[in-house]
């Protein structure tokens, strides 16, 4: 089972646009992605449609693992995949182990698109094939700074969510690719760092993270695992706080450091790739000449787009995305928040929070932070229509967008950015 190459642009230093999807891929999500890619090929890069310049830099790679693989099995969603595969330079790379675990066959799609649907994974140093070796290879090539770093934003708890295992596998593969690694534990991702984990029917995530830290040290690579102070304190991890950002916990594994959110944002201000359960990276074409010191320049901070795709209040997810966006913008990172899919409920109706309640009214947060430097809010109108709901007319700070505008936001570079890629995170 040798590796079948992902069509990267090899030694040119250019990288493909890619989506790394591990959560459920609905027909709705894949449809708007498909519409945006059509927009890209028709409006932004029509030459690719005419000449099918495969193997060059305008390649879209879909890296599918976990629950996202079921989208290759669902006939309604497979139809959308087939439309995507008919576009130039679109490739799907599957996590074979996770396909086999779920008993999902993709033979039909593979037979129709043999060069574009790949389910054989790259061999690692251990001699075993792993999807994450392919992901690390793509991430490692990003802008090729030396030393290279790969980050992972972890939002889910272990054992309830298999995605915590993906984080461990991803960081292990990154080390094998000789990259330094960084883990950012946020929301329920905090629980992955609890000490004394003893699962009997699942890989031990806590031990896995400790082994990553030790392996990095042995290889002379850097390893940072930073947990958000707000999330850790809420969950009972912060047992001593010196009031100056230093928090010590009696119940976290050794490599975990609980720190002010700003310390995580400082890492976001570097230009390495940040992976996660559902993320994307969109290459930004460079007009100006490249710098020899890409890590040091403030203009090269990758802009951030956060898709808020979940309903508010039922989980911390929507608030977590919004809070991260506000924090990033305050630290100078150009940040866009797009309310899409069920995330449009954040902007629908008038939310009323009781006066003495401790929870934030998300609409008030948006209203209060709109107009801040580096922060923009958008709502995807087709998601509203699909749900038969209307936008709260008072939320004027949130701009209405459709497919063309979403395509522009994703594929047209932010003004004045010198960054090589745009980070996209799904909440």
């Amino acid at each position: 089972m040798s590796h079948v190459g992902v069509p990267l642009s090899g030694n040119t230093g250019m990288n493909p646009h890619f989506f790394l999807l591990g959560g459920t891929v609905t027909a709705e999500r894949l449809s708007w992605i498909e519409e945006c890619l059509k927009f890209y090929f028709v409006k932004i890069n029509p030459s690719n449609l005419l000449h099918h310049t495969k193997g060059q830099d305008d390649v879209f790679t879909f890296l599918l693992t976990g629950e996202a693989l079921y989208s290759l099995h669902n006939p309604a969603i497979v139809r959308i995949w087939e439309i995507l595969l008919a576009l130039p330079s679109v490739t799907i790379l599957c996590d074979r182990q996770e396909l086999m675990l779920r008993g999902i066959s993709i033979e039909g799609l593979k037979m129709k698109n043999p060069d574009q649907v790949i389910d054989h994974n790259r061999l690692g140093i251990s001699g075993k094939p792993s999807f994450w070796n392919d992901v690390a290879r793509i991430a490692r090539q990003h802008e090729q700074p030396v030393p290279s770093t790969i980050g992972y934003l972890l939002l889910s708890s272990p054992y309830m969510h298999r995605s915590s295992l993906a984080a461990v596998q991803c960081l292990n593969a990154a080390l094998e690719a000789h990259a330094s690694v960084e883990l950012y534990a946020y929301l329920d991702g905090i629980h992955c760092g609890h000490t004394g984990q003893k699962p009997t029917e699942f890989e031990n995530i806590g031990e896995g993270l400790e082994e990553i830290s030790e392996k990095a040290a042995r290889r002379g690579l850097s390893c940072q695992m930073i947990a958000c102070n707000r999330c850790a304190t809420a969950r009972g991890y912060s047992t001593w706080d010196d009031g100056q950002g230093q928090v010590i916990s009696a119940c976290t594994i050794r490599p975990f450091r609980i720190r002010n959110m700003n310390e995580i944002i400082e890492r976001f201000a570097k230009n390495h790739l940040i992976l996660g359960e559902d993320i994307a990276s969109i290459q930004i074409k460079k007009g100006a000449q490249e710098s020899s010191f890409p890590l040091q320049e403030s203009g090269r901070v990758p802009p951030l787009t956060i898709f808020i795709s979940r309903t508010p209040y039922g989980t911390e997810t929507a608030f977590g995305g919004l809070s991260l966006a506000v924090a990033c913008a305050a630290q100078g990172i150009p940040t866009r928040v797009i309310f899409i899919e069920d995330g449009v409920y954040v902007i629908a109706g008038t939310h009323v929070v009781e006066e003495n309640s401790r929870i934030f009214n998300l609409q008030e947060i948006i209203d209060a932070t709109a107009g801040s430097s580096n922060l923009q809010f958008f709502i995807f109108i087709p998601s509203l229509h699909q749900r038969g709901i209307a936008k709260n007319p008072k939320m004027t700070a949130v701009l209405d967008i459709g497919v063309p505008e979403l395509g522009q936001l994703l594929f047209s570079p932010h003004e004045e950015t010198q960054a090589g890629h745009q980070r996209i995170l799904f909440f």
Binding site: N229, R230, T233, G243, Q244, G245, N260, M261, N262, S323, V326, A327, A330, F360, E364, I365, D367, A368, T369, G371, S372, S373
Partner: protein, 82 residues
């Protein structure tokens, strides 16, 4: 800083991001001629001082205790928030 001590909120239990969000929400509802006062920790003071000074607010800081600061934010005349 003429307000009654007891009516001044203590935000020292908020994280820096949530403090910033909370302050923006309060400032939005406050008349531009009025000052917003509150107590914070030292690390929170550092987070507030520069961003709010840059975005059109006069920031007054008074040390109340070793790790407790009384802050006053008031919009600079004729300034829009950046």
């Amino acid at each position: 800083m003429e307000k009654n001590e007891e009516t001044i909120p203590d935000f020292s239990n908020l994280t820096c991001t949530n403090l910033m969000i909370r302050l923006k929400m309060i400032l939005k509802k406050t008349h531009p001629d009025d000052a917003v006062e509150f107590y914070v920790r030292r690390d929170q003071r550092d987070t507030i001082e520069v961003p709010f000074s840059r975005s059109g607010y006069n920031v007054k800081i008074q040390k109340a205790d070793s790790d407790r600061y009384r802050i006053s934010l008031k919009k600079k005349p004729g300034k829009e928030e950046g």
